[in-house]
Symmetry: C2
Subunit: 363 residues, 2 copies
């Protein structure tokens, strides 16, 4: 790899496409000859207006976002969304249903309970979140303002694959932080999609929100101005100074994906990368993946040796071989290979070769 860059398996922030980084570096002191860096550019300048408008247009193209959905580039990460969502949407019956498929889903539900009546419709916590709970339609409250799901569970390596809950007319709100842009999704099946950028989109510091227009404008007037989606939506994400540089890099990532043919070929590569890694783990005598096969994530591949000390040895030895951040989340330990869009296939091949060698040496 050029510049002696590592294979960075971090769960996020994580790798970005090298072509994007190199383009950003080249344009850093003087963006397209305009005399300024994007870091220094007024958010009301014509140059930045083009950057943010192009970023939105390209994201709309990539995800086929219909016109009745608003796109916003916000700050505060998923953590702020956990509160913004109920503040804006839990305004009818003041009820919301949550499926708890991991730690982040649980945090989202806990936060929402500050603002209304939250029902945990299903949880896989008793099984350490090793699968996606799949409640029947009858378990959802028909008068709920929304149903919240975490589409990909970064810590536990699960993902909503062929299942999406049937919630009737109740809009689904989905946290897609760790899988957005890795697959084609039918946006119309969701009322609101949100995603922190720092996995597949760009640097940390910008959060994408895609919201069906009719759900907006119902927030009480006494919520913090910054937390009112409608204000951001009506002002093209420039009501206040947005995180301009992070939006710019995200836009460059969108351009790079479009130039490569869109999400389809990227998804095919993601499937190929994940499949070969899961296949090897399943065939191995040393490693096991605790996740139910039908719910496995393409983005976060979790595995263990069954021996905590050996897991630590694995992570340290991999680091020596230029493969970074293979440790599992601090809450569960073990290993996790986050193989987002920007992880080259050769990174996964290199990891598998290393795993084989480590297995041979530690039988």
């Amino acid at each position: 790899m050029s510049n002696d860059r590592a294979y960075n398996f971090s769960a996020g922030p994580s790798m970005l496409p090298l072509d994007v980084i190199e383009r950003v570096a080249a344009d850093l002191p003087n963006y397209k000859g305009c005399g300024e860096s994007v870091m220094e550019m007024s958010h009301r300048s014509k140059e930045f207006t083009k950057i943010i408008e192009d970023a939105e247009a390209d994201l709309r193209t990539l995800l086929s976002i219909p016109d009745n959905y608003k796109v916003m580039f916000l700050q505060g990460g998923a953590t702020l969304q956990f509160a913004m969502i109920p503040m804006n949407l839990m305004t009818g019956s003041k009820k919301a249903d949550y499926i708890v498929s991991g730690s982040w889903a649980k945090k989202a539900a806990k936060e929402a309970a500050k603002f209304g009546d939250v029902k945990i419709v299903a949880s896989s916590e008793e099984d350490t979140f090793t699968y996606i709970p799949k409640p029947d339609k009858s378990e959802f409250r028909p008068d709920a303002d929304y149903v919240h799901i975490t589409f990909n569970n970064t810590i536990y390596g699960t993902h909503y694959n062929d299942y999406l809950p049937d919630t009737g007319d109740v809009p689904i709100v989905a946290d897609m932080s760790s899988c957005i842009l890795s697959e084609e999704v039918d946006v119309t099946k969701f009322g609101l999609i949100y995603a922190g950028a720092q996995k597949n989109v760009g640097p940390a510091g910008v959060t994408i929100v895609i919201a069906r227009e009719d759900l907006l404008g119902k927030a009480p007037e006494n919520i913090p101005t910054y937390m009112d989606y409608k204000i951001h939506a009506d002002n093209g994400s420039t009501y206040n100074t947005p995180p301009c540089f992070a939006i710019y890099v995200a836009g460059e990532v969108f351009k790079s994906i479009l130039a490569g043919g869109g999400i389809k070929p990227l998804h095919e590569a993601d499937v190929r990368k994940a499949q070969k890694l899961y296949d090897y783990i399943d065939s191995s005598q040393l490693y096991t993946c605790p996740v139910a096969k039908e719910d496995r994530s393409l983005m976060n591949v979790v595995f263990v040796t069954g021996d905590t000390d050996l897991d630590k040895k694995f992570v340290a030895a991999a680091k020596e071989e230029n493969m970074h951040n293979l440790n599992g989340h601090r809450s569960i330990g073990g290993m996790r290979a986050s193989i987002y869009n920007a992880m080259p296939e050769e990174g996964v091949d290199t990891l598998i070769e290393f795993m084989k060698k480590f297995e041979a040496e530690n039988k």
Copy 2:
């Protein structure tokens, strides 16, 4: 100037030191040989931990921040602070006093009124905010939870120079977005200082909060988790993923200022730059500065010709000469030269030469 960079007089985001931009660009694909860009780095990695700890330590050195003050790097800009401040601090008598010295001060007061009893102690709005109102101690409520001031008014070009309100034991909360690091301040005179980065600190997307420790931890439990200062303070600004890249660039700016001898020489240069510009304006037959002399800002120099069309001609002609963003804020028109720390003195000299030429041609 190298790379044909412009003199960018934008009110923010605005110029950054060129040495910082060049260092950031050089380290972009592979930060100090660690194999990753800072944009891709786990916020829990040892590399990023050093970056954020160094940034905090350097900021503490620059501003002589005492140990009983917490430093936080947050998201959401001043706009989110307008709500976070009352949510966290307006928790005793639920009263807060605001001095309204400009549009941002007014917005801050309006936002705070959502959360408690706000008194506008003084306002200069009737005079288009051309001076800093200076209320007597007797006008403040002794049982208020805090008094809020906007230390530098970006739009109107005013600044608290020799006056700081006597509020007795009531802590002063100050928005220093557009003047932080341009002058030495006695932090102990304030309960809380906040500043969006995009003027003197770094790229938009990070907001500095410096808060006296005893004021924290009093927020009600039902406020959004992201809005609780104590959670950020107790977790070194990494409770959730922080805006890593913006913090890194801010840290590089701090290092650059320290390398230049700290704030004192920078302030002396700021005084020199502003003084020569005000002196010329005051001596000119064409331009006038509407701001009371004792309240003039070193950072934002506001001036007009008295003829709206001529103002527009000025801004357009300056742009042709590679001097960008000299237009006043869209709410008041006229001209504004924002001459933050990173504006070289030759940028101000070039502007004055241009103003003289324009005056000669438009008598």
